[in-house]
Amino acid sequence: MSELTLKNLSKKPDLICPGARLCSGCDETIIVRLVLKATRGPTIVTNATGCLEVATTSFPYTAWDLPWIHSAFENTAATASGIEAAIKAMKKRKEGPLSNFENIDVLAFAGDGGTYDIGFQALSGAIERGHDFTYILLDNEAYMNTGIQRSGATPFSASTTTSPAGKIFLGKTENKKPLDEIIIAHALPYFATINAAWPLDVIKKTRKGIDINGPTFLHAIVPCSRGWRFPPEKTIEISRLAVQTCIFPLYEVNNYKGKTTYELSSPSLSIAKRPETKKTVEEYLKQQGRFSHLFKPEINKEYLKQIQETVDLKWSILLDKCGI
């Protein structure tokens, strides 16, 4: 593949086939299709238990047009480490099925349950050991596959089946775990946030992650029409709003020789330059049924203020880190 442009990439065949059984309008396969458009050659994928895994591999069918290894919730990153170690060992000994390839890239896909909660230990270890793989977190902010239970990624006040909004508690009472900061603290070579509403940005960041030697991490926000309660055609619109409201800013973090640098990506940079274009959290929240208790029977100004203040604070801290 020559230059990474939408025109060139539109001709590259998908490495994930149609016929998967994800819900209509699911953002996960949009991200996966974009990520796989960024591959540069032979690639092995490992996938944690979750929506993506069950829906793409319902026996006897597979939607993956490349080698794919199933992992449990806990061990996606450990599987990725193992794949990379096996490739290295075969190459060193000049024997085994993988020894003849000059380059094989390793991708790991996992959801928020498999990353924030259950798979975290394996992930932290794999990054610390410095394996060469790219980890893609598909964050739909709850355990959607098992019936919308809250996870460490579920945001404050979102209603899920295990943090239902009622008379006393208005959805989840805790904040979203600051996973990005925790991952970045590992001083890994490359970290970025991605969003399907900006397809070329997703592809370019993924290619960067694959090109860089060592562990790289991509955090994708993945709106879920079933769990977040919105009509499926709005998937991309809501994804875009997450950036426009600065709830999920787009940025990259590079670590080179111990020096960490933050850089805002263009959709977020333009908001930083023209703060008046920043949308209120209300515009994002009111479109989603999981936050409907903040608007009905009357608008809960106190909660909305609290959420807005948290977003503003996090945004200003990020701007500081980016030197803006």
Binding site: S24, I30, I236
Partner: protein, 91 residues
């Protein structure tokens, strides 16, 4: 329908599978998209946004829906910059 490979024909540890392309999801939706080629600007965005990979780009640069797999989610229609994709209710 293709046949599944026998275990003995595979590498150790591998499981016989067939491509999900044989599992057509085109009957999931209650609506289907129709592209108005008089207005389409060949931007190809709908190809990138379709969760199913059911929108292909033709030789002439126009996009085309593969109705065997379209689930009728409506994202393509909602996101098309020139609004030239109409969602039509199936009869």
């Amino acid at each position: 329908m293709s046949k599944l490979k026998k275990k003995s024909e595979l590498e150790p540890g591998a499981i016989p599978f067939k491509s999900s392309k044989e599992y057509e999801t085109g009957d999931w939706g209650i609506t289907y998209p129709k592209i108005d080629y008089n207005k389409c600007t060949k931007c190809t965005l709908c190809h990138f946004f379709c969760p199913e990979g059911a929108i292909n780009v033709r030789e002439d640069g126009y996009t085309e829906v593969d109705y065997r797999y379209c689930k009728g989610c409506g994202i393509c229609s909602h996101e098309c910059p020139v609004k030239c994709i109409e969602m039509i209710v199936k009869k």
